[in-house]
Symmetry: D2
Subunit: 164 residues, 4 copies
Amino acid sequence: MKILFIQTGGTIDKNYPKTNAGYAFEIDEPAVSRVLEKSFIGFEYEVVSLFRKDSLDVNDQDRSVLKAFLESTEHDKIIISHGSDTMPETASFVGKIPGKTIVFTGAYLPERFKESDADFNIGVAVGSVNVLTEGTFIAMNGKLMSPESCFKDAVSGLFETKEI
Amino acid sequence: MKILFIQTGGTIDKNYPKTNAGYAFEIDEPAVSRVLEKSFIGFEYEVVSLFRKDSLDVNDQDRSVLKAFLESTEHDKIIISHGSDTMPETASFVGKIPGKTIVFTGAYLPERFKESDADFNIGVAVGSVNVLTEGTFIAMNGKLMSPESCFKDAVSGLFETKEI
Amino acid sequence: MKILFIQTGGTIDKNYPKTNAGYAFEIDEPAVSRVLEKSFIGFEYEVVSLFRKDSLDVNDQDRSVLKAFLESTEHDKIIISHGSDTMPETASFVGKIPGKTIVFTGAYLPERFKESDADFNIGVAVGSVNVLTEGTFIAMNGKLMSPESCFKDAVSGLFETKEI
Amino acid sequence: MKILFIQTGGTIDKNYPKTNAGYAFEIDEPAVSRVLEKSFIGFEYEVVSLFRKDSLDVNDQDRSVLKAFLESTEHDKIIISHGSDTMPETASFVGKIPGKTIVFTGAYLPERFKESDADFNIGVAVGSVNVLTEGTFIAMNGKLMSPESCFKDAVSGLFETKEI
């Protein structure tokens, strides 16, 4: 098994600014690399960075770049780290790509934080991508969800499944 | 979705001894509770403790207790934290239980350690149990494996699949 | 021995925003409380919050409030957590207060970060306040310095002693 | 200012065993190096390892080696990491050495643990060694104590000053 990890930005990769610029975060190297390096990984993987944006700043041009990349890559098991606020939009935009298993994940607290949920969330994505066959999914809050049927609840911040 | 987590011991739950007894660890409260509490979980779960043993001390009587518990519980999605040294033996002993999805996991470093792989491994187990239907599996090193076809390599410490 | 800890803000207390406001930090509860609670403390202490500002936003009115508070408090051993950028200015403004030992400290990375220097810096302040008799000092980079004779180097970010 | 740090062992440096030997810790590289490397240190320092023992195993031969080393070294500001159980005995054995400021410290939880007090305690030792002139001291629980007048309370585990 080989997994490709793609960085697009979001909370998971936020770091304290190296310059003394006061209040603003910056989006730094992919957290997924640090998590995998300490986790006694037994599969092959690569980590690539496509862009580094807060997900509120991700636009349809970015999504087109991501989709084109996913369609052209030879990899068939892919985990994408992405900000949570527009994760369903991006995952829906990408949609299903024949022959590929794609899982989006992210975090509520940056991986640099002691109390971060990043390690767990990346684990959930890895566990599901082991088993899933084809399709594009969201892995947040320990749940696997279809992009079209879930949304981030504005009050709780948790991902919920739409009532039909 | 509801997941039952079962503690049996192992490295993942080892803590520094409260008494000043020098070199020995003790197996403490289930690490899985601490990981889930900080990870913005969106599913229901329970955590129960069956026993607290280093996996080299787990014997067939313990395994019978575990198997009987698994057969009698109403839960159908179950994650078992267990020491890695005899994890394949215990998982093979338990075997497949009709209607139940059972995933064993553990850690190379206690969850109490800064560099622990516990959060990631619990995540892998949760991600896979979302998707798997029936059967008993091992989730270590980011891989899902059948208990009968894997072993812990004595040199690398990693779980490998048996050549046939 | 009893030590009074005063929060004024700065990097040490920055936390990820609870609202999903994108890039901005917020200054949260005093980090010093969390550090002391886990450090098996054998002295009495109190923690009070005077204000919560990035040190670039601390003005002379804030400094007057702080100085008045220091002059009126009954405590004689006082540690002040403060942003590093204007720490020498605030400590010089406060100056020496008869009968009181005052130590300013802070951090380069928030205490919430895994790699934070907060615990160490608070320790340095506590160690020095045990021994110092009277005066107002800065404890950064593991060094005790006089506010008038030190400055934060714009390039290295470290506190240096002025050449005379 | 230059500080010499000497490792003698104890809880602060305990690590999970690299071999899969079950319950036993091992005493690993000096934790003080990791703490200093992340703490934006502004003074010169060296770290040397004299021995790696749980402090219950430190005997008078070890103490003689330590004392001889302290008497012969050119350094005059010295911090010694040591297990807490016999820290007063070792510090009393060493006694005062003319021209030298010596501070013993340690930890209740290994530096490898998330909740460790190691960073704080090393900070206390560094802060006090900045200010102290001559003598041999114990820095534990955020307090500076004379080796002859303190003891580790068997119940609380904290260092207390003897009633006279």
